[in-house]
Point group: C2
Chain length 383, copies 2
Amino acid sequence: MDTSIRQPTAEHPANVTSHDVARAAGVSQSTVSRVLRGDPRVAAATRERVLAAVDAMGYVPSDVGRSLSTRSTRSIAIVVTDLSNVFYPYLIAPLHQETSAQNYRMVLFTEEVEPLVEGNQSQAPAGEDEISPLLDRLLNRSMDGVILTTSRLDSSVPKVLSRRGMPFVFLTRLVEGVAADSAVVDNSLGASLATSEALRLGHQRFGAIFGPSDTSTGRDRERGTRAALAAAGVELPDRMVRHSPFTYQSGYRAMVDLMAENPRPTVVICANDLVAIGAFNATNTLGLRVPDDVSIVGFDDLPMAAWQVFDLTTVRQPMEEMAKTAVRLLIDRIEGRTESSATRQIVFEPQLVMRGTLAPPPAGGATETARSDPPAQQLTTSP
Amino acid sequence: MDTSIRQPTAEHPANVTSHDVARAAGVSQSTVSRVLRGDPRVAAATRERVLAAVDAMGYVPSDVGRSLSTRSTRSIAIVVTDLSNVFYPYLIAPLHQETSAQNYRMVLFTEEVEPLVEGNQSQAPAGEDEISPLLDRLLNRSMDGVILTTSRLDSSVPKVLSRRGMPFVFLTRLVEGVAADSAVVDNSLGASLATSEALRLGHQRFGAIFGPSDTSTGRDRERGTRAALAAAGVELPDRMVRHSPFTYQSGYRAMVDLMAENPRPTVVICANDLVAIGAFNATNTLGLRVPDDVSIVGFDDLPMAAWQVFDLTTVRQPMEEMAKTAVRLLIDRIEGRTESSATRQIVFEPQLVMRGTLAPPPAGGATETARSDPPAQQLTTSP
DNA sequence: ACAGCTTGTGCATACGTAGTCAAGAGTTCT
DNA sequence: AGAACTCTTGACTACGTATGCACAAGCTGT
């Protein structure tokens, strides 16, 4: 009959548990649990009484208690690198939408560039993994599964997750040599679509700002572009190529750099939209007009690609659909709806979105700066 | 001596617990716990033995077990509305950085517009709160605290959190009538800075695209602009004012609409950068030049405001600092470092960032479309 | 040599929920 | 009327970690 056996920690006043509700309703804790889980084996009258007590006391079941008991946290980890990249919101929004719809929670993690700690316990026992802070947080059973969106090709994370039997899915980027479900666009095809269209419009002098070679997106888009050029017998000399991170700044700088080449390219294929927009702004600074002086092509089709001032020709990848697919693949696996052996690789079709930044090359193909030089200087175009 | 009493659920193969480690190391579970928590009262030799077992078995402590025991989850909820708004990455990135640095986890939630469920249990017992799905997830003790970034002024969430004793902080936007820590910029001052500068440059015919009136940011920025204009005796007729959500699209549309007014404003004060960029793009479509034909001012100073093509004059709010401050305020409160009575309202200084979109009005003050009309038509400028 | 202290360790329990098992009360069937 | 059932409920335990308490062993000082 005492009001409370457990002292309520005084910190969070009303820390009502199912035991408290049970006592108030004059039933056992099991019955409270059954009522709340919707178990049919409860008499209607009892159910009413319990629900009344729940309401009166403002009881909210503890998720932690439930997780411990069910060994499921209904939480999904999203691992990204550069959170401030404008690319992410368009991935995170649909990810959140889908996880939420499936009654899962979404937790963000960033994969720090692993700083290769000095051989602390380098002689770890056979079969053991180095547990980085990130891996620790993914493996401490607070997460039911993981979505990897930004793995570099050499990341150890997927390997460890795989070895530990932690469900995970690749989204956007892949890491090879690890069997896992994935949702990606055909990056190589996308890049070749854009490149082929530029060729069709008559471009012969290509420039490219490719992404980092240690990402599958960077590498595959580069491959697609090179393949399309090779098929057309058009060369892409090294001096027309830059590699840079997927950022505005690096796109800007690479473009300034490329435009100093002589003769300069008539079209520049960019690693993604953000890089392309950086490049676009560089042309603005340099006093060059797009597409009159130089054409630009992006990749992703972010909403801002369609903004009037850019009107960027780009390759669309269905990010929303990809994100939602990734969540579904993952939850299927978490909830055991996937035969554990086979992995599912979902590859989406890219689509070329024609807008205003890709047009035929300037008439004559000569550039302004090239005018003062003898034409076809370093050009080795095969006809 | 039996290898395992508990059958390992067969689902996640290696589900090693501290008991397993203890058995392997020949110590008690308590000792394992103490070693891992860094408790000094453990003999060096024992510590070694335990750590060796931990390594060999790849043991990772269960966060759920720990949370249940410590009644702390080290998780912070971030509540936002429109996740795909480009504004958020610049908030989320520093939030994540700081939570991560303080060894907390960051979980994203969205506040759906509460659909006002039909009076289900409208006669809830006195003092009881309607628990929406969001509130349920915030109150189920899986979160140590909450950062509210987008509350509309009429949101019930802060009130309920407050009544339940759940620590929370307002970031960017406020809700009045609820005592809570907050980190916001002085929106009113910021807007008046921008407006005053436009006045100083000679503008007399103002237009404004204000934000939603049910947000503190929208309302306060509107107030600041109106106050500055009133102080200068300059009118802001209703036909020169639009209210719209904080989005690109709505900025674009409102600007098209405003530019059809006759005479049209010589400067348009925008609710934030995204709206301003929408407005900027609209001028582009309409064939108007910025700032030659019309000046535009934003608010926020997103990185893209500095992009060459925009070069947007705007009011900077230190989002990174604000975000990190919010996290610190919250963690102080969670960890009981704040006297529970007093709340801390941190107000940051806005700063006008002069760039290229704000300049003196067109010479003569007459606009092209106004040329066909008698000048000073509806103008009631006091000298 | 003995009281008192320090150090190191294990035992037992709390945290809040889910779910297993058993038991009591009623019901139906033969 | 007794057997077999169904329905409803409570007692109990598992989940994995942290920690208060007790206790054993070693150590110090007089």
